[in-house]
Symmetry: C2
Subunit: 324 residues, 2 copies
């Protein structure tokens, strides 16, 4: 329509080479008038890059993840990348599926939160050659960089705080083993703190659970039904803690008078419930930003050796713990 060659059109679209003003104008006019948009997919195919970063998360049920995503989006945008998100539900099958989907649309890099970084998934990632970065959990495999809070230390500090407040009968509702961050590592911190204080682990007071509010309710019920009650409870996530508090209060126990509770994550609701929940806080958006920044560095051929970054954390003490 503009009476020019395809290449010229391509050049004005990409500003890749100089084009005479009148030709450029003719092209632009036609584009405007036909509302033409270049087909990204074909561009990507031809260029073998997409300026697209894929994000794979198991779910988005708490505010922390929204912050994480915003952190990622923020720096991605600055560097000219778009992001696209998919929810995997945490299953290996879905993770493989979505990884291939991202691969298919030529994603330049992928940020993922997964507990299945081994076997098939890790093979696929390495084979694909797509730069990846793990968020939220410490990497099993050294081949993939990661950004996360120091879950072990943070949990250790939270439980140590409880011990300092005079508690020795401390239960923990942990996430399932296999759930790296909130399961294994936060439990490890709990174990270390108790060990250091010479407190033996009490089987009845360690219950494995999902990470949702409902799971917390269920898990708390199990602890209540055990032979004796703890005076304090450390929960792997705030949602678990909120569920547990719900169960306790429904059953006539007072917080923190009867049992003290500490959570992990610092979701916004932790400050809204009563009593306000003491919890381990950290900046999820910082995780997102750091991840995006370093992923992009790798995409652009920066450092290759995988590193692991920790963002800072602190215990926000509120009203759910008493000293005895």
């Amino acid at each position: 329509m503009a009476g020019v060659s395809i290449s010229t059109v391509s050049r004005v679209i990409n500003n890749s080479k100089p084009v005479q003003d009148d030709l450029r104008k003719r092209v632009l006019d036609v584009m405007e008038q036909t509302k033409f948009r270049p087909n990204t997919i074909a561009q990507n195919l031809a260029k073998n890059e997409s300026n697209l970063i894929g994000v794979m998360l198991p779910e988005v049920k708490n505010t922390v993840l929204d912050e994480l995503i915003h952190g990622i989006n923020h720096v991605s945008r600055i560097y000219g990348y778009n992001t696209m998100l998919s929810l995997t539900g945490g299953t290996l099958e879905n993770e493989l599926h979505y990884f291939n989907l991202f691969r298919g649309i030529q994603a330049d890099g992928i940020i993922l939160a997964s507990d299945n970084l081994k076997g098939e998934l890790i093979e696929l990632i390495e084979l694909s050659g797509i730069p990846c970065i793990l968020v939220g959990r410490d990497a099993h495999s050294a081949s993939i960089p990661s950004v996360h809070v120091d879950n072990i230390t943070a949990a250790y500090e939270a439980v140590t705080y409880l011990i300092q407040q005079g508690h020795r009968r401390i239960a923990m509702i942990r996430a399932r083993s296999g759930d790296v961050a909130s399961g294994d590592h936060r439990f490890e911190g709990y174990r270390m703190a108790l060990a250091e204080a010479g407190i033996p682990l009490a089987r009845d007071w360690i219950v494995e659970s999902g990470i949702t509010v409902e799971d917390g309710i269920e898990a708390m019920r199990k602890i209540r039904e055990s032979r004796s009650m703890p005076t304090a409870l450390f929960c792997a996530t705030d949602r678990i803690a909120i569920g547990a508090m719900h169960d306790l209060m429904e059953n006539g126990l007072r917080i923190p008078d009867d049992v003290s509770v500490v959570g992990f994550d610092g979701i916004d609701m932790s400050a809204m419930i009563r009593p306000k929940l003491s919890t381990v806080k950290y900046s999820a958006s910082e995780i997102g930003m750091t991840a995006a920044r370093n992923l992009i560095k790798r995409i652009r051929g920066g450092e290759v050796s995988p590193r692991h970054w920790c963002v800072s954390h602190y215990l926000e003490t509120r009203d759910s713990v008493r000293s005895i």
Copy 2:
């Protein structure tokens, strides 16, 4: 590697035409051993379709949206579609941007929650010819089908309930006008209920606010500082309600003794806070499933005339309202 032509490989990948067993096996073996995956993007380019549904949401800060997404994913998967999500922050600029991004990767259809369905955006959508469906809010424009709860009626019922409990001094924290669902429509329901009961609107008791917990705190403060206090409060979202309750309790007011509160959405936290929040509930996953189902029908050339679907709602009465 398998000693066959490209076409044959394509045929075994797609099962599009019969291939002799031994050839098929040779191809499959090589695919397995090289971990070969077809390049989706090139497939799409050649086929001019992607089996991809784009989802555009402003944010994912509450459990309702997680449910919504899962609803969408669930039925999409059944029909062989993949989904990809992008967070727009609710700004027109981002919505245009991501829409074009989805268009670029040849998304077959798009599910979106937007309050900017007019002017540029609607033009772009119509021009692109991509089937779209709106979730969460009633469509301005008749040209785009939508799935949502009947916000006006639901809000009307919630406020009418308050009136039945003997309240006449009823405040509302509404979302901003322009925010179709939680702003305009839920306010309209409030207005109708009061009008029907012959209660005049009190300017001081209607405050416009964002939809987050923090916004709720801020808005409640404004109401507290007005000349006189209401006995009841209707909030456009549960998060607002939770923030408002926080502010009230921080300032020594009791719920429901001093003021009754009703929320909207039925997020999981509404049952966790104390007192438990009475709120309008509905199934977000049903919205997601209905949207996906009908979008796919449109993609496949089913009915063209846009329709609007409502999912059912009900008022879950809990402990945050007293009768006077």
